[in-house]
Amino acid sequence: MANVPRKASRRDFLKVGSASLIGLSVGALFPGGKWLDNKIYAIPASGGYLLVDTKKCAGCLSCMLACSLAHEGKENLSLSRIQIMQDSFAGFPNDITMSQCRQCAYPPCVEACPTKALHADEDNENARSVDIGKCIGCQRCVEACPYDSGRVVWNHIDKHSQKCDLCANTPFWEEQGGVNGKKACIAICPMRAITFTNEIPEQNDRGYNVNLRKTAAWKRLGLPSN
């Protein structure tokens, strides 16, 4: 055709019209991205929680070494989903902090995740876990965790978020993990300073700190039981 202004033919109208109709219908399925929000308000509580006794901890970091080994197959403190921080020069008991995931009842990390990568895992009693294939690396979960050392770990080597899944997914450890299975940190802790419960712990500032030192054997050692 030469440079003649094209008259709108019937064919054109049909093409444009149907395209618009299809487009509008598809567009109607996207109500402003609010869909996911409705499901968030009813995140079920986790069926399992790690409890720690910070006064019993010896700061050996074996839990951290076990965690990264079981999950990633290598030893890396920065990839451990439980973090122990300590100051050699400080006095007991404020010299050590144990930072394990609290499997929050109202988890900000789950709410923050735009792709449902961080979700309550139905196959693991709703423990809050990351599907790493769905993680887009936006790091909103990392920022959302309100606790001082965020319990969501940014894996800077494989570029995705990860967090304590109560050892549900430990490809490098041949034990059955998860809420109903074994947890590497609990199995390895030489001080028996980490334990586990299915009941939601009391929500306070103490970070699920419990007293695991009430035995006569502990007292025999000359260490405090309170």
Binding site: M1, G27, G33, W35, P108, G133, A144, P146
Partner: protein
């Protein structure tokens, strides 16, 4: 030329607003009341996800009203309008969108290439810029495809069987062996590369739409991993094809007139006489005078038209 300047400025202003929006949205703010220490930022992919199908729709809509505007005659100054203002807008907005997507995409991490960002606000900014790029990219792609199908230009873009020997001959001639074959408006080699672009662009759009779906529906993890992988592979492919495209289309001296025409719109009669003989033969009879509003069209048997 003035029009093109305005179009270019318009693109940059639009981009500027988009970049500001992306930046502002990526700043952290307190997330949950009662949880001090909990922060988040606005991920545009999540909050404005409807802009993505809308941009596709707009591309189709506007594209169906666009006209095939390239001239088919040689004007009095011996110039031919190879790419009109619509084409100028379309090519350059698409190019900028592509570059923005590549830069932010690589910054965020693709396949084995390292991720250069690690601060959540920087990551958020890159993701939001990627979103801006996506909206513009989708609009321009669907605009282009709709327009070219409806106007029939697609037939000039897509390769035919005779393009393979023609391309081989073209490259042989460039290396000094043999004579240049007679080329149409688009070189045979260009036409051969068109479906290559098409496959990777289609791949990146499809995988990208699957990835974007995760913001709306609960998607299976395996599908997301596959989509991310495809997205990455297409990214690498597109970067490679883009490098070739820029090299062959703008860097090498024989192509300087071409890159000029993508900006000004015009190529000279001498140029097409030398490099696009077939096209020259098609249009040489059509001459436009300065004052006349219509032209004398001398139908040419070689020309085929279709819708």
């Amino acid at each position: 030329m003035i029009a093109r300047l305005f179009i270019a400025i318009g693109i940059f202003i639009g981009l500027g607003f988009g970049a500001y929006w992306a930046y502002d949205a990526s700043r952290l703010y307190a997330f949950k009341a009662g949880y001090t220490g909990s922060y988040t930022y606005n991920l545009l992919f999540e909050s404005v996800v409807w802009a993505i199908p809308v941009s596709i729709l707009l591309g189709v809509l506007v594209g169906s009203f666009a006209k095939d505007g390239h001239d088919t005659h040689i004007d009095e100054q011996g110039k031919v309008l190879r790419h009109d203002e619509t084409m100028f807008f379309q090519h350059w907005s698409h190019a900028i969108a592509t570059l923005l997507l590549i830069v932010t995409g690589i910054g965020l991490g693709v396949l084995i290439f390292p991720r250069f960002l690690s601060n959540p606000q920087d990551v958020g900014f890159a993701l939001n810029l990627h979103f801006i790029g996506v909206v513009l990219f989708l609009f321009t792609v669907f605009f282009h495809v709709t327009k070219n199908i409806l106007t029939g230009e697609i037939k000039e873009n897509m390769p035919a069987a005779h393009d393979i020997p023609e391309a081989i001959g073209h490259y042989k001639a460039m290396l000094g062996f043999g004579k240049q074959p007679e080329e149409g408006k688009y070189l045979a080699s260009e036409r051969l590369s068109y479906p290559v672009w098409g496959i990777f662009v289609a791949g990146i759009i499809l995988s990208g739409l699957i990835k974007v779906s995760a913001y709306i529906w609960n998607m299976p993890e395996v599908l997301m991993t596959v989509a991310t992988l495809v997205h990455g592979v297409c990214t690498v492919a597109i970067v490679l094809v883009l490098i070739v495209h820029v090299f062959l289309g703008a860097i090498i001296p024989p192509s300087w007139p071409l890159i000029k025409s993508m900006i000004t719109g015009y190529v000279t009669e001498d140029y097409i006489k030398a490099h696009h003989v077939k096209w020259y033969k098609q249009i040489k009879g059509n001459k436009k005078s300065k004052t006349a509003e219509s032209i004398e069209a001398i139908p040419n048997k070689e020309e085929t038209t279709s819708i």
